[in-house]
Amino acid sequence: MSQVPDLECRAISKSFDEFKAVKDVSFSVPQGTFFSILGPSGCGKTTLLRMIAGFQKPTGGDLLIKGRSVLEVPPNKRPVSMVFQHLALFPMMNIGANVGFGLRQRGVNRADTKRQVERVLERVGLAGVADRPVNSLSGGQKQRVAIARCMVLEPDVLLLDEPLGALDLKLREHMKVELKQLQSEFNTTFVYITHDQSEALVMSDQIAVMNHGVFEQVGIAKELYYEPETAFVAGFVGEANRFSARIDSIDGGILGMVTPEGRTLRGIGAGQGLATGTTVDVFVRPEAVRLSRRHADLSAMGNSGQGQVRNILFNGANSQLILRDQTTGADMNVALPQTGEFRDLAQGDTVHFGWEPQQTRVYPGAGGRHGN
């Protein structure tokens, strides 16, 4: 692959009056990468995307596409294309005219346009629909037309602004796979923004988690899930149980903590400035928690306790258990193994639980901010 990244942002920032929407964000996306920017609404990801597309002008920093600064290039001259949140297909044109729109603007002659439109529609699996009106298509088909409309221009970077948001759940699951396939088929650089972590985790080669105008962490899906660098990432990516606690001992790599309600916790530090007495946020994934009917099975795990079953959310292999921790009185989310052992578990039963300190990540407490 080429040495020069397709897209590079250097300390790019954007302010609206007093409000800084994007603060000195730097990243680069190599050719052919599916790059996702994941963040809650209002985190600045849309502003960032619109700056890349050219609809907004950065207040600082530089933006390069294939090594060339495009700050002064208007949106209609930038080698990027965008799939809009609501797709923005032109209702006044048929499908062929929609897909051929960009080619017409470039002055490609009619015959060539027609041929290229046919070809790209075929590639997205919609051969022969060129003469039909846009509204004759289903949601997923429209999605593919929107992508075809951009891809026919062979852009250096394709920007996607939460395009799956408007689809129903089942179709969204299906489109995730399809988008990824399309991306590898076209081998074009995709920059995809979403607030849905599962979209990002499933499709992306690289994910940037964005919050309050900055990238909290950039990495592959596994890194984000297993080694979140910040409390925000730990809370935002995947499910997690969260405790507020204070460090009372440091023993090698293992931190000993106690919650205000008196629960003792043991975990490993994942951040700077963790000393005895520091207030910390402690995260543990639901699937890291083991269940047992006997305390003895779990006593060696480093973290253990007893809880009452509040609710059983049966969902096949993804079933979950809501437990009320008898020490803290808080609800905990625990994955319910479908091994048959807990099949007869009922609401109100008491069970023991425990987890390893290695699966317990401790971050300096930011106060207030919550994950799931």
Binding site: G54, F55, P75, N76, F84, G102, Q105
Partner: protein
């Protein structure tokens, strides 16, 4: 039983509309149509014939006056569209909240006074001893007084001014409903501003353009005061002819025939306009 009651409710609901249509629109037109078919053959003697309609087609004066009225009305409509479109676009797309309301109200302000007052306002501005003439002399741009009243340009000015609101309102409504992301998508796909206007904005605004044009055309065609007052001796306008036939000639028969011809010919022009622009009346009404 239930169906009967539903039916009764339906008729009760539709009754005011039906009475309105029948008593105030259909009946007078039927009456006028019958009058237009009467040919006066002597004192208080009438015969049924199409003679009054024949007069229109045989007398070039009437025919020419209609053609002139239609031509001027079409020009006024085109001019109103040309001026109104940027205004509507600005209001719909480039302003928000308070500014939007203010601008909208400013378009409405001229309608707080009667048409007569508005027209007199223009007379004060345009006449030889009027404000514009005085201003031009004061600025030294002209040597003597300039008469800007009593010509076709004055009529056009008055018509465009009177019609502006009726063009701007439907345009703002349709342009408001144009998703900004469509325009952005156009830019993103490499289109120039003009290409976006031609391929995206205008096709989207077409129902508004068509309904605005129909209303403005009909208003201009049926206008009486503006052409008569601002046009002076050049103010040949078809409604003036109708007024003359009814009021100063006591020739209701010919006046009625002219009224029907105006109705028919203007409908024909609107129909042709719709055909040419590829729109249908139903579509236009449904979207605005």
């Amino acid at each position: 039983m239930g169906t009967d009651r539903t039916r009764l409710g339906f008729w009760l609901l539709i009754a005011p509309l039906a009475v309105w249509l029948l008593a105030l629109i259909v009946l007078p037109h039927v009456g006028m149509f019958l009058v237009s078919l009467r040919e006066r053959v002597g004192v208080r003697e009438y015969e049924t014939s199409l003679a009054n309609y024949a007069v229109f087609f045989n007398e070039p004066l009437y025919w020419n006056t209609f053609a002139r009225t239609a031509y001027m009305s079409i020009s006024a409509t085109a001019l109103t569209l040309l001026i109104g479109f940027p205004i509507a676009y600005y209001i719909a797309k480039l302003t928000r909240g308070r500014t939007k309301t203010t601008l909208f109200l400013m378009c409405l302000i001229p309608f707080w006074v009667s048409e007569l007052v508005r027209t007199f306002g223009w007379m004060i501005l345009l006449r030889e001893t009027g404000i514009f003439s005085g201003l031009l002399q004061y600025l030294g741009l002209v040597g003597g007084p300039v008469e800007m009243l009593y010509n076709d340009a004055a009529i056009m000015t008055g018509l465009v001014y009177t019609s502006m609101l009726f063009m701007v309102v439907p345009l703002v409504t349709t342009l408001d409903s144009l998703d900004d992301s469509l325009i952005e998508a156009g830019y993103d796909l490499g289109a120039s501003g003009f290409a976006i206007l031609r391929e995206i904005v205008i096709p989207h605004a077409m129902p508004g353009i068509v309904s605005g044009c129909i209303v403005v055309f009909m208003l201009s065609l049926g206008n009486y005061l503006t052409p008569i007052l601002l046009g002076g001796k050049d103010s040949l306008w078809f409604t003036g002819l109708i007024y003359d036939q009814f009021i100063t000639r006591f020739n209701w028969e010919l006046g009625s025939a002219f009224g029907f011809l105006l109705l028919g010919l203007s409908s024909l022009i609107v129909f042709l306009g719709l055909k040419l622009s590829g729109q249908s009346l139903g579509k236009t009404m449904a979207q605005t």
